[in-house]
Subunit: 340 residues, 2 copies
């Protein structure tokens, strides 16, 4: 018998929990028979929602968690105090080997802190980066790091580049992924102190396909598969991506429904436009992995719908099947960077 | 007789020089009789182009400059060696008081270096920031700093906030402009070391209307008028703004002309869409000023068309009329920040 891949899912996290989370989980176990999902959350709420669906009962198990960590709570405190929260209970399952991965649409801060404190880093990994996929003209790129650990060192960025490369190659199937560092010019001598220090280290790194600097202007073109930066810059890129896309969509929608003539036009273009924008949506690929941990933690958008949850569960399966953590252990955890 | 405002314009800078530059200048002097423009560039090329238009001859004078600084040249070297370039000649006119302002669509690096080295900083100003206007849902915001001086200190950011405030209030006419610092969360305790150090300084600054942190996601909403950040982050925001807007437009255009039905729709929505996108275009307001100099230097886009040049000339007039540099001297150059 094939080994089941065990994924714990935070049934209480995000704006659309538990309904959309549970819908997404059921879709995932219907798609693949080798997945077992542990729905972590308040059992009354979870069971009530589950009762609305039909599914293979052996593939889903409810794990009771009395508490929920709210977005507004200070993450470190919340992780320490709310031992019975869905995030802490789910992460403990990964730590204890009862689950291979944990997915949450809940508090980003708590997920990041919990990943480091509860699940723990792979030995030799200095920092676990949060690495969302962002949409580009050509598909998606991995933006690494967008986490909470700002003011990174050059050695951290080198590890991000290597982990990102492994992820894009083996989870996303990109052969020899192009790695670039976010910079304010294309030339090697450009940049701030961190980038100037990191650039030659990446250039001399034999394990990755380093293509040099990438200016923010070229990120949406998909010129690189793995986009390396420290978390403050990554956060700015990620949030601006989301904010500007949404603002532009709003502006365009308003613009094309402004006159009667264009209102009719808007009706005609709507289906094509919808399809196009769907292609320009990274949630189609799942959530953002927190890499370099003893297990996998995936953070989805707070606004995640069923589809993003389903894709995140499948993503965990690929992660496990491709033995990403073994590859990270073998290729990075023993690299010279850690010995600095 | 009213005093003429004297603006030197780089006739050789940018992708569309000299034709669009000269067209823009002629529009500007036609709009306002109190402007005198010095067109700095190779006299043969400039005069040949000027001959195609009719204009008030007393308002435009050609200043010969034998050389041109190319985009690819290392800026410091270029400024030092090409004494007869349009950028160096034009900036020397500002330095010597022969012109109030200099506008260039040429090499960003050379304009930034030349501004500091030739025109020079106002006494007490630690760094001259480059401050482009970016489009938002509500109009425009000033993004300060997007220049070449990365790894800024907290005291620099405080001066940026003050100069940006003065610019938005007196050049753009925004009453008590809202000042925010780019951050990765809304709370005061969030951020990297620089932001954490700067936040309380801005909070305790009596001259500005500080509204706290702004996440990159909220920049396009226009939640702040003056967006303070160090140059690396500013550059990433600015370039991503341009790149993502252009990519999304391309994706949408392709999407709505994908089927026959939507092709017809596209024709109907085109005029409204064009108007809307025009509103979402900061070049309507002119170029990016380099603030804190003994005079004014304005950098327009390399791709600037006549309209951006015209608007930049008018912007220089407002800058002079509103005595921005006197306000900066009075309010900032004597502030405690410089005494650190």
């Amino acid at each position: 018998m094939q080994e089941m891949i065990k994924v714990a899912v935070d049934a209480m996290g995000g704006d659309n929990a538990p309904a959309e989370v549970i819908k997404g989980v059921i879709n995932a176990v219907t798609l693949r028979q080798d997945i077992k999902v542990y729905l972590v959350g308040h059992q009354d709420a979870v069971k009530e929602e589950l009762a609305k669906h039909s599914y293979n009962g052996t593939q889903i198990e409810v794990i009771h968690a009395e508490e929920v960590i709210e977005n507004a709570e200070p993450p470190v405190m919340a992780i320490r105090r709310k031992k019975q929260s869905s995030i802490v209970v789910g992460m403990n399952m990964v730590k204890e080997g009862k689950a291979d991965a944990f997915i949450s649409a809940g508090s980003s801060g708590a997920v990041l802190v919990g990943g480091q404190v509860i699940v723990g880093r792979i030995k030799g990994i200095e920092r676990p980066p949060l690495a969302p996929l962002i949409p580009t003209e050509k598909g998606v790129s991995l933006l690494i790091d967008c986490g909470a650990n700002v003011d990174a060192r050059a050695s951290h960025l080198v590890q991000f580049a290597k982990m990102g490369s492994i992820y894009m190659e083996y989870v996303m199937g990109v052969k020899r992924p192009k790695v670039a560092i976010v910079n304010i010019g294309a030339e090697e001598e450009k940049g701030n102190a961190l980038v100037k220090e990191t650039f030659p280290l990446l250039k001399n790194c034999p394990d990755i396909n380093f293509v040099g600097s990438i200016e923010a202007r070229d990120i949406p073109k998909g010129d690189a598969d793995v986009i390396v930066c420290e978390a403050f810059v990554g956060n700015v890129v990620l949030k601006l991506y989301e904010g500007l896309s949404s603002t532009l969509m709003g502006v365009i929608k308003k613009g094309i429904t402004g006159s009667f003539k264009s209102k009719i036009g808007a009706l005609l273009v709507k289906p094509s436009l919808k399809n196009t924008l769907k292609a320009f949506d990274a949630t189609e690929y799942g959530g953002a992995p927190l890499l370099g941990l003893n297990g996998l933690v995936v953070k989805t958008h707070g606004s995640a719908k069923a589809k993003e949850i389903t894709n995140s569960v499948i993503q965990c399966v690929t992660f496990k099947e491709q033995e990403i953590n073994e590859k990270i252990r073998r290729n990075i955890a023993v690299s010279p960077a850690e010995e600095e």
